[in-house]
C-alpha cells in the first residue's frame, strides 16, 4: 500500500459561495440549465419527487442526470436527490446546485453553501420561518409551510407525505414546469397505487402553484422553456445492465440483495420470465455464484450481480470458474468500503480485489463501463468474452453508475452480437471420435459440450484434471493444463476493449480515469478548455487483459498525468504505474482522489489539475 511513496494526493476544498454565475442567457435570465437538490429525510418522499422532477425535465426536452445521495437507512436520516436538466447534452453534475428545496433545517445547514450567488433556497416553513442565523445573503430565499399545508388539506398526518408534491408545485410555479407533464408523470409512476394517491398528488402540486401565486414574488433568474422532447430513455445503470444482459441472451440470474446491485435482480425478476428466463434469490452470494456456474456449465448465459462484500464471498468460486473453465459473468458494483463501509455510497476501491483475488494462477477478464450506454453494450460483451474464453468475466461498475438515473441515448439492439465461442452442437459432437472437454489446443480454448448432448460427457473439475476432466496429479498433464489455461488470456488480447481518448491529442497534460469519473472528467475538460488549458483524457475500459500499449503511449505522450479515482490509495494509479513499469513515486503522476462515497465535482478535477 505504501501510500507515502505515492504521487502527491490532492484534496480540493472549494468555497462555492463565491461562484458567480454567468448569466449567459437573455435579459439576465438563466434558461434551461438548472440543478435542483431536494434535501429531506429517508422515507419522506423526496426521492419520489426528485424522480418526478427528473422526468418532467425530460419531457420538457431537456437532458437530465440525477444523483441520489441516500443513507443506509429506511426512514429518518438525511438524504438528498439532485436533478440537473439542461437543453444540450452534458455529462455530469454541476459543481453547484441552483435550487435547494430544503424539507428541514438539516438540509439547509448541510447544503446551503452549495448554492452560488443568485441561487435559490425553498424552505419548508411549517415549523416556523428559517432561523435568522441560517439565512444567507446573495441568494433568493422563498418559504412555504409545505408540510403544514399537506397535513391541513390532504388528510391529516397521513397526508404529510404529499408535501413533496407541494414543494414541486412551488418550484414549478417559479421556473415554469408544464403542469400537464407533472400530472402525466404522477400517473405513470403512481397509477398502480390507486386513484386516490394520484389525485392527491395532483392536488398537492396545484396547492404549491397557488401558494406561489398568492405569496411569493419571484426574484431569481431561472426559467425553463419547453423544447422538442428528445428520443432518449430515462434509466439507471442497473436498468441498462439488466436490459443489456437480456438482450445478449442472459436467461439466468442468481443473486442476493445488496446495494447497488439489487435493482438488476429486480429488473430481471420482472422481465426474464417472459423470455423463458429464471431469477433466483439465493441464500447468500456463495450460492448465487455457484448457481451461475451451474447454469452456465449447463449452457445458459447466466450472471450474478453484487458489490464488495458479496464479491469477497464469491472469491473462491472465481477460482472454480477459472479451473473448470466455465463462463461466469459477475457484475461487481463497487461501494464505499472496507467492510460494510458506507453501504449506499460509491467508491472505486475494489480494483485490486477483482484483479487478484483468489488463490492460484488462471485467466480472468475485467471490463468497466464509463457510461450508461457502455453499461448496456459491455454487459453483452461480457457474455461473449466469458463464452469465448471460458473463464470468469468481471463487469466492474460502481454505485454511482448503477443507481443514478439519467437520460440515455436510444440503445441499439443490432449492435448486440451474440458469440458463443467454441460451444458444440449435437451435430458437431457426432463428428468427434473421442471427445475431450479440456483438449489441448493451439489457442488454449477447448470445444465445450453441455449436458444432454450425446457423446459429449465430461467431468467439469476443480481439481487439476486431464483432457477429459478426470482428476489427475500427473506432473506433465498439470504443466500442460496450466499453460493451456493461461494461454487464453494471451489470446484474449485480440478482443481488447481499448481505452478511449478524448480531448486535444497534442495536449501535454493527460487525465486517466475509469468508470463513473467519465462525466466529471469530461465536464472538467470543458472548463479547463475555457480557461485555456488543453488536456486529454484516457478512459480505461478494460483492466484485464490490460491495454498496455495504449496506456503506455498515452503516458509517454504527456509530461504530466492526473489519475482521477474514487479511493484513498490510488488503486488505478498503482495499476498504471505497475503495468507500464514506473516507480510509485514517479514525479509526473498525480492522483486526484476522493473517498467519502460521493462523486467528484468537475471543479475538483479542474482545481486538481491547475494546482499542479
Amino acid at each position: 500500500m505504501n501510500i507515502l511513496f505515492f504521487p502527491i494526493r490532492l484534496t480540493v476544498l472549494i468555497d462555492l459561495r463565491h461562484i458567480v454565475l454567468h448569466m449567459s442567457n437573455r435579459n439576465g435570465r438563466i434558461v434551461n440549465d438548472i440543478a435542483v437538490m431536494i434535501g429531506g429525510r429517508a422515507g419522506d418522499g423526496s426521492l419520489a419527487s426528485g424522480e418526478i422532477l427528473a422526468k418532467v425535465f425530460a419531457k420538457m426536452g431537456l437532458e437530465v442526470c440525477t444523483i441520489k445521495d441516500f443513507p443506509s437507512n429506511i426512514r429518518g436520516l438525511p438524504t438528498n436527490y439532485t436533478i440537473r436538466g439542461k437543453e444540450t447534452l452534458f455529462l455530469s453534475r454541476k459543481d453547484h446546485i441552483d435550487f435547494l428545496i430544503a424539507l428541514d433545517e438539516v438540509a439547509v445547514k448541510e447544503h446551503i453553501d452549495e448554492l452560488p450567488k443568485d441561487g435559490v433556497l425553498i424552505y419548508d416553513s411549517s415549523g416556523g420561518d428559517l432561523p435568522e442565523d441560517m439565512k444567507r445573503s446573495g441568494i433568493h430565499t422563498y418559504q412555504a409551510p409545505m408540510e403544514k399545508m399537506a397535513i391541513d388539506n390532504l388528510g391529516g398526518s397521513a397526508g404529510r407525505i404529499f408535501k413533496n408534491l407541494i414543494s414541486l408545485g412551488v418550484l414549478g410555479a417559479l421556473i415554469g414546469l408544464e403542469e400537464e407533464f407533472v400530472n402525466e408523470t404522477v400517473e405513470e409512476m403512481f397509477g398502480r397505487k390507486g386513484r386516490e394517491v394520484v389525485e392527491k398528488d395532483v392536488q398537492a402540486y396545484k396547492m404549491g402553484i397557488e401558494y406561489v401565486s398568492k405569496n411569493i414574488q419571484k426574484t431569481d433568474p431561472y426559467i425553463l422553456e419547453k423544447r422538442k422532447k428528445k428520443d432518449k430513455l430515462f434509466m439507471m445503470g442497473d436498468d441498462a445492465i439488466g436490459l443489456g444482459a437480456l438482450a445478449a441472451g442472459c436467461r439466468f440470474y442468481a443473486g442476493y440483495p445488496i446495494t447497488p446491485a439489487t435493482e438488476i435482480m429486480e429488473w430481471a425478476a420482472n422481465n426474464f420470465p417472459k423470455y423463458n428466463g429464471v431469477v433466483v434469490q439465493t441464500e447468500d452470494e456463495i450460492s448465487a455464484i455457484h448457481m451461475v456456474i451451474g447454469a452456465s456449465y449447463c449452457g445458459a448465459r447466466a450472471m450474478t450481480g453484487t458489490s464488495g462484500p458479496g464479491a469477497a464471498l464469491m472469491t473462491e468460486a472465481i477460482g472454480l470458474a477459472g479451473m473448470s473453465e466455465t463462463p461466469t459473468v459477475v457484475m461487481h458494483g463497487q461501494r464505499a468500503a472496507p467492510g460494510t463501509g458506507l453501504p449506499t455510497k460509491s467508491e472505486q476501491a475494489d480494483i485490486e480485489h477483482v484483479m487478484y483475488s483468489t488463490h492460484g494462477d488462471f485467466p480472468r477478464i475485467i471490463l468497466s463501463p464509463g457510461t450508461m450506454e457502455e453499461a448496456f453494450y459491455f454487459i453483452g460483451e461480457a457474455f461473449n468474452l466469458a463464452e469465448r474464453y471460458q473463464c470468469p468475466v468481471i463487469f466492474l461498475s460502481e454505485q454511482m453508475l448503477c443507481q443514478n438515473k439519467q437520460t440515455v441515448d436510444e440503445l441499439d439492439l443490432k449492435k448486440v452480437k451474440i458469440d458463443r465461442g467454441k460451444l458444440l452442437t449435437q451435430d458437431d459432437l457426432k463428428k468427434i471420435k473421442d471427445y475431450k472437454r479440456y483438449q489441448f489446443t493451439e489457442d488454449g480454448i477447448s470445444p465445450r459440450s453441455i449436458p444432454s448432448l450425446e457423446n459429449g460427457q465430461f467431468e467439469a473439475n476443480s481439481n487439476e484434471h486431464d483432457e477429459y476432466g478426470g482428476t489427475t496429479e500427473d506432473t506433465k498433464i498439470r504443466n500442460m493444463m496450466m499453460r493451456k489455461r493461461l494461454k487464453k488470456l494471451e489470446v484474449a488480447k485480440k478482443d481488447m476493449i481499448e481505452p478511449k481518448i478524448f480531448g486535444d491529442e497534442a495536449a501535454d497534460i493527460g487525465i486517466i480515469g475509469i468508470g463513473s469519473t467519465y462525466g466529471p472528467i469530461r465536464t472538467a475538460m470543458e472548463q479547463l478548455a475555457e480557461e485555456g488549458l488543453s488536456v486529454k483524457y484516457m478512459q480505461i475500459r478494460m483492466l484485464k487483459p490490460f491495454p498496455y500499449e495504449q496506456v503506455k503511449s498515452f503516458v509517454d505522450s504527456c509530461s504530466r498525468i492526473y489519475v482521477v479515482e474514487h479511493n484513498a490509495t490510488g488503486q488505478l494509479t498503482r495499476q498504471i504505474l505497475y503495468r507500464i513499469g514506473l516507480p510509485e513515486n514517479t514525479e509526473k503522476f498525480r492522483s486526484i482522489l476522493r473517498y467519502d462515497g460521493k462523486g467528484f465535482r468537475p471543479m475538483e478535477i479542474v482545481e486538481g489539475v491547475k494546482k499542479r
Partner: protein, 290 residues
C-alpha cells in the same frame, strides 16, 4: 442410446477409495438404480463437492461436476433450473454437505428443486485424514478432538424434516440392494430428495463400523406400523429412537420450485433462441421512455 444401459456403461475411472470403504456400495447402488430406471447417461449430471465421497464424479460416466468443498447443491439446483430434462444427483459427504455446506442444504430442502442429494455419511472427514465431522457422536476422539468432541451431532434427517424436504430416507452401505432401492425412489421423487447413507470409513472411523451399524440400525421399511407420511412420526423416530432409523422416513408430494417458476411448455431455457426480437426489445424499452 440404442442399446439397453448396463452397469459397465457407467464405469469411468477405477475408484481409489480404501478397500472396504462404504462409498463403493453407494456407487454401486447409484449405478444399479440408474440402470433400473433406464436413464440415458447423457441426461444425468452428477454434482459433487470435495471429499473422498465427492470423488464419485470421477468414477461415474455421465456428465459430472466436481465442484468445491461444500458447494455441490447450488451448482446442482441451477443445472436443474437451466435444463429440467436432466436428472441431477448430488453426491456429497457429511463434511461437505452438513458442515461447510449446511446453509445450502437447508435452503435446497426448502426450495424444493427436483434434485437428489446422496450423503455418504461416515461421521468423519475422510479425505483430510479423520477429523471428527458434524455427524460424529459426542466424545468421538479424532485428531482435532483428542479429548473427544463436545458438540451434539447433526442429524440430516431431522434437519431435512424441519426444512420441508419432501423425500427423506436413510440407507446403510452394508445393504446395497436397499440403498439402491431408496436411491431409485429418491430419483423418481419430484422435488428435493435426501438419502443419508451410512457409509463406514474403514480407515478413520473405528467406532462406527459395519458391525456397529448392523447392531445400531433399524429399518422402518420393515416396520408396518411406521407412517412415512407423517412429518411428526418421522421426527419422533429421528429424535427419540434408540436405534438409528433407516429406510424411507418421510415422503410428501409438494409443488416443486422448478415446476412453479419455469414455463415448461417452452422447453429448457438452455435451448432458448437467445437473440431478442426487435419488437420485444422495443416493448422492454417502452418503460424507459418518457
Amino acid at each position: 442410446m440404442s442399446e439397453k444401459l448396463t452397469i459397465s456403461d457407467l464405469d469411468w475411472h477405477k475408484p481409489t477409495w480404501c478397500p472396504g470403504c462404504g462409498d463403493y456400495a453407494l456407487l454401486a447402488a447409484v449405478k444399479q438404480a440408474i440402470v433400473r430406471l433406464e436413464l440415458d447417461p447423457k441426461n444425468i449430471v452428477i454434482v459433487s463437492g470435495i471429499g473422498c465421497s465427492s470423488k464419485l464424479t470421477d468414477y461415474f460416466k455421465s456428465y459430472g461436476f466436481h465442484t468445491l468443498h461444500g458447494r455441490p447443491l447450488p451448482v446442482a439446483q441451477a443445472i436443474k433450473l437451466a435444463n429440467p430434462d436432466l436428472t441431477v444427483i448430488v453426491t456429497t459427504g457429511d463434511g461437505d454437505g452438513y458442515a461447510i455446506g449446511m446453509g445450502h442444504f437447508i435452503h435446497a430442502a426448502r426450495r424444493n428443486i427436483d434434485i437428489t442429494m446422496l450423503v455418504m455419511n461416515n461421521q468423519v472427514y475422510g479425505l483430510t485424514k479423520g477429523q471428527y465431522s458434524p455427524t460424529a457422536s459426542i466424545d468421538f476422539v479424532s485428531g482435532t478432538t483428542p479429548q473427544g468432541s463436545k458438540d451434539q451431532p447433526i442429524d440430516g434427517v431431522a434437519l431435512a424434516l424441519a426444512s420441508g424436504a419432501g423425500f427423506i430416507a436413510r440407507s446403510f452401505s452394508g445393504n446395497i440392494r436397499h440403498t439402491s432401492q431408496l436411491i431409485e425412489e429418491a430419483i423418481k421423487h419430484k422435488g428435493f430428495a435426501l438419502v443419508d447413507d451410512l457409509s463406514p470409513c474403514v480407515t478413520f472411523n473405528k467406532l462406527n463400523t459395519y458391525t456397529w451399524f448392523k447392531q445400531n440400525i433399524e429399518n422402518v421399511d420393515e416396520d408396518k406400523s411406521y407412517n412415512a407420511e407423517s412429518v411428526i412420526s418421522a421426527f419422533n423416530r429421528a429424535k427419540e429412537s434408540k436405534k438409528i432409523p433407516i429406510g424411507l422416513l418421510y415422503k410428501e408430494e409438494k409443488p416443486t420450485y422448478d415446476d412453479q417458476v419455469l414455463d415448461k411448455s417452452r422447453g429448457p431455457l438452455v435451448f432458448e433462441d437467445l437473440s431478442l426480437e426487435q419488437s420485444e426489445f422495443e416493448k422492454l424499452i417502452e418503460k424507459f421512455k418518457y
